[in-house]
């Protein structure tokens, strides 16, 4: 057990209040200035099953849900059994090695080598309310006492969560106090040496961060159709649409969602849409339309395991082939894959500019792991320079919407601008936007238009920042990851380093086009490993195609995210081979 961090897991059935309890704990730690990361394990079910919510907190950097388990709050017997069992198979999560808190009514479980602490949760709760979930608050109080957090911080969080006024929040504070005092009257805090800070941190989910990043990048309209795990962004933006001064709409399906977004961008408003793979599949035709018309559009694609409905509440990085190949014909697209909530903010802001500048679709790929966990963000810089790209003035002489230029980028007039009459046609067209596909098929114009569109990304590649690395300088082996697995990969590298393996990491948050510097970063390494959450190694294939690299694939595709020790083990197995 590490002294510099604490891992708490709340376990119960769907409908038991697992997530709400977990969020209170996470907020309490973030308010104490700790770094926090949460992990939400749940099923596609409205009631029953077994779900859990894990909170990891430390004054040190927290980059994944982590290994180990210090405190378990079990809301039913199955929770006690399941999380104390060393043969646990929850997709990589550790069984309990510390303290189990549960109600005294739960008995008859298999005794294992953990510290069982049945508390009279229901009895203590009933002093303040008959509401059955009030017992959770008592358990939270006890767990917070065990970690050494002061009661005032916890009570301030409860007041915020349940509303500053009203009986319910008062009852919850009292119930938490019962648990807190009861624990300390009989037990000592567990041996943790957490260094609390005096500045509270923002706790934010990746989905919210994408929304915030978009607003920071000048978002005016978000058109989305609900689909897990992309809905967290839609909910966040809908709830704050007035504060942000943006328009949020749910159309009848994803076909409409992307086409409305294209229309909005055509009319000159920065618009964005989002979905998961299923909804993105419906957007495929419209994606090519945006590519052909050269209309800026930003699409948020939050992955979950497919095919079809797949595992709607689980995580995977299995949509890369879809995103790279979506829509007929060749056209330029930019694909970004943020690694953390912070990356979600900055890359989504940037995506809003890139779409305008290069007048082409930009797709932000996240996954359920990134979209639905919460993590602390140190600071958010609200400043961001909006770049609208090449926009002609009214009455510009000899206006050509698809002017052939060196960069491939043509001046983009907004309908209604004076003297800039033009067509935007989905057929192949000439510089003025007039169709060259039927009456007057013109092979020369086709070639010049294809070349014009396809060279637009040269400018983007040239302005890309250097690829981020971790512990790479002296590394003999290199691991390449993309998107949400960056944090856990860094922690796996730390574990391997502590064992004496010289391993480094390349972190990819710009999936397509790839930064040419990746090839150089890999040169001279004994082995190049690619770690990703899918069956076929979709990113691995892209890397090999782009750079001709010889790589080894490390993968996980059971619907759960990598855990640090697990990933380190997989990498170690390959480098020792």
């Amino acid at each position: 057990m590490r002294e510099d961090e604490v891992i708490i897991r709340v376990a119960g059935a769907a409908g038991d209040g697992v997530q709400s309890a977990g969020q209170i704990i996470a907020k309490t730690f973030s308010r104490k200035g700790l770094n926090v990361m949460t992990y939400n394990y749940y099923q596609d079910i409205v009631r029953g099953g077994q779900s859990w919510y894990q909170i990891r907190a430390s004054h040190k950097k927290v980059r994944s849900q982590g290994d180990g388990l210090d405190i378990l709050i079990a809301l039913n017997k199955d929770g006690v059994e399941r999380h104390t069992n060393p043969d646990i198979n929850e997709g990589g999560a550790s069984p309990l090695s510390g303290l189990a808190i549960f109600d005294t009514a739960i008995t008859g479980y298999t005794e294992r080598k953990v510290d069982y602490m049945p508390l009279p949760l229901v009895e203590l709760a009933s002093k303040h309310s008959s509401f059955p979930l009030m017992k959770n608050t008592v358990a939270i109080g006890a767990a917070m006492a065990a970690t050494g957090v002061d009661f005032e911080t916890l009570s301030s969080v409860i007041l915020d969560v349940f509303g500053k006024k009203g009986k319910v929040s008062e009852q919850n504070v009292n119930a938490a106090k019962e648990g807190y005092d009861h624990y300390l009257s009989k037990h000592k805090p567990i041996g943790k040496k957490l260094v609390f800070g005096d500045k509270k941190k923002y706790l934010m989910g990746g989905g919210e961060a994408v929304g915030l990043g978009a607003v920071r990048g000048g978002l005016k309209m978000y058109i989305g159709y609900p689909m897990t795990p992309a809905s967290s962004t839609l909910h966040y933006l809908a709830a704050h649409s007035k504060d942000f001064g943006i328009f949020v709409k749910i159309p009848e399906d994803e076909i409409s969602a992307l086409n409305m977004t294209i229309g909005a961008n055509y009319a000159g408003a920065r618009a964005m849409t989002g979905s998961s793979g299923g909804g993105f599949s419906l957007m495929v035709e419209a994606l090519g339309l945006a590519g052909m018309l050269e209309i800026p559009v930003v699409i948020y694609e939050s992955q979950r395991p497919g095919p079809s409905t797949g595992l709607p509440t689980k995580t995977e990085q299995g949509d890369l082939n879809l995103v790279l190949g979506a829509s007929q014909g060749d056209f330029p697209r930019i694909v970004l894959s943020p690694r953390s909530a912070e990356d979600c903010i900055s890359l989504t802001s940037e995506a809003m500019n890139l779409a305008q500048k290069y007048q082409t679709p930009v797709i932000i790929m996240s996954d359920l792991y990134l979209a639905e966990h919460s993590e602390t963000v140190d600071e958010i810089n609200p400043e961001f320079a909006i770049d609208d790209g090449d926009r002609p003035r009214d009455n510009a002489a000899d206006y050509r919407r698809y002017l052939l230029t060196k960069s491939g980028i043509s001046p983009r007039a907004i309908p209604g601008q004076k003297g800039l009459m033009h067509n935007e046609d989905s057929d192949e067209h000439d510089e003025r936007g007039d169709v060259v596909s039927d009456a007057e098929t013109d092979p020369t114009k086709r070639v010049s238009m294809m070349e014009k569109r396809m060279k637009k990304l040269d400018g983007y590649i040239a302005e890309m920042p250097q690829t981020d690395t971790y512990m790479l300088e002296d590394a003999e082996f290199v691991v390449i990851q993309w998107g949400s697995t960056a944090g856990v990969s860094e922690e796996a590298i730390d574990i391997l380093r502590s064992k004496g393996h010289k391993v480094g990491l390349i972190e990819i948050n710009r999936v397509f086009p790839l930064n040419p510097d990746i090839e150089k970063l890999c040169s001279g390494k004994k082995k190049v490993l690619v770690a990703e959450n899918n069956f076929t190694g979709q990113f691995n294939r892209l890397l090999k195609a782009e750079f001709g690299l010889k790589t080894t694939l490390v993968r996980k595709f059971n619907g759960e995210a990598f855990y640090p020790n697990e990933l380190a083990g997989l990498i170690e197995g390959e480098i020792k081979r």
């Binding site: 409908g15 099923q43 079910i45 409205v46 159709y225 689909m227 809908a238 749910i250 399906d253």
Partner: protein, 297 residues
């Protein structure tokens, strides 16, 4: 007097819906009326996740899941395939929520109804995307708060009226169209039996209250369903071969009473309530006018 509701159970215990779920009762009654020779097609919906968690299974009839937009297309294919195999008596049923019907599935539904396949389409209407977290749908009524029409600085509940798909089906001339709700099971079963007599497309919209998304206590589901009818918010009707018959219902309950039972309408002010009353009144007048018109012609 014999039971008017068949005793046969094709929906067994073991579903995983929320307490007080109206959609489960809708399914149960529909299956009682249709019997065992039935295949059901369900798109993404609450009903895609509530037929039971492993190893339980609540339905005793086969079920096929379809993409969200495709219920109408899938039942068309099923129907024709059964027919060419000589299984004309087998009931082919689409059972979709309001999102899968009023929004993404409307094109597919309309196509299937227009082509005239001998199918049943049940829209269990819980007035929102409840499975994915209470988002608005086209079938959400004016005034309701959902997670995508949250209450904001200017009372940002849904500002558009409910799109009543049954009315659209009627306008399209579908041979059998009806509205029903779980508080009136005899009426619902009678309608399914009437629909069975028609060889062609049948559409029944069943109002299925959702305690979680409408914010009322689960034990009130039937009461909410009954009040929806008794307040005139959700009129029951039957449209057969071009003739409309509206169930004349005494209205002992005010619209206000219906609204006040559900917390999703909590932010309405006096003007909003009047607006809803007026809308309910006008819709009833429209239906009664339509009834006169179709019965006299």
């Amino acid at each position: 007097m014999p039971f008017s509701i068949p005793e046969q159970e094709l929906m067994e215990p073991g579903h995983t819906a929320c307490h007080g779920c109206g959609a489960t009762l809708s399914m149960r009654y529909v299956l009682k009326a249709l019997g065992k020779d039935t295949v059901i097609s369900v798109p993404a919906a609450c009903w895609a996740v509530i037929p039971g968690a492993m190893p339980n299974r609540t339905l005793d009839v086969p079920m096929v899941y379809t993409p969200f937009a495709a219920t109408g297309a899938v039942i068309s294919g099923l129907r024709e395939a059964f027919d060419i195999q000589g299984k004309e008596d087998f009931n082919v049923v689409g059972f979709a929520g309001d999102g899968g019907t009023a929004d993404i599935g409307l094109q597919s539904l309309s196509g299937a109804m227009e082509r005239g396949h001998n199918v049943f389409y049940f829209m269990y209407d819980n007035e929102g995307y409840m499975n994915t977290g209470v988002q608005r749908s086209g079938s959400t009524p004016y005034g309701a708060i959902t997670t995508t029409t949250p209450i904001g600085k200017d009372r940002n509940f849904k500002k558009q009226n409910k799109k009543v798909v049954a009315d659209l089906m009627m306008a399209q001339g579908v041979p059998y169209v009806a509205t029903a709700t779980i508080a009136y099971p005899e009426d619902l079963i009678r309608k399914v039996n009437n629909a069975k007599k028609i060889n062609g497309p049948k559409f029944i919209q069943i109002l299925s209250p959702c305690p979680v998304g409408w914010y009322f206590p689960p034990e009130k589901s039937i009461e909410v369903s009954r009040l929806a009818v008794q307040s005139g918010i959700f009129p029951l009707y039957e449209f057969q071969n071009g003739v409309l018959k509206v169930t004349k219902q005494p209205r002992p309950v005010s619209v206000r009473e219906y609204l006040s039972m559900q917390n999703r309408f909590r932010s309405l002010d006096e003007d909003d309530i009047k607006k809803i009353e007026k809308y309910a009144e006008e819709r009833m007048e429209y239906l009664i006018g339509k009834e006169k018109e179709t019965q006299s012609s």
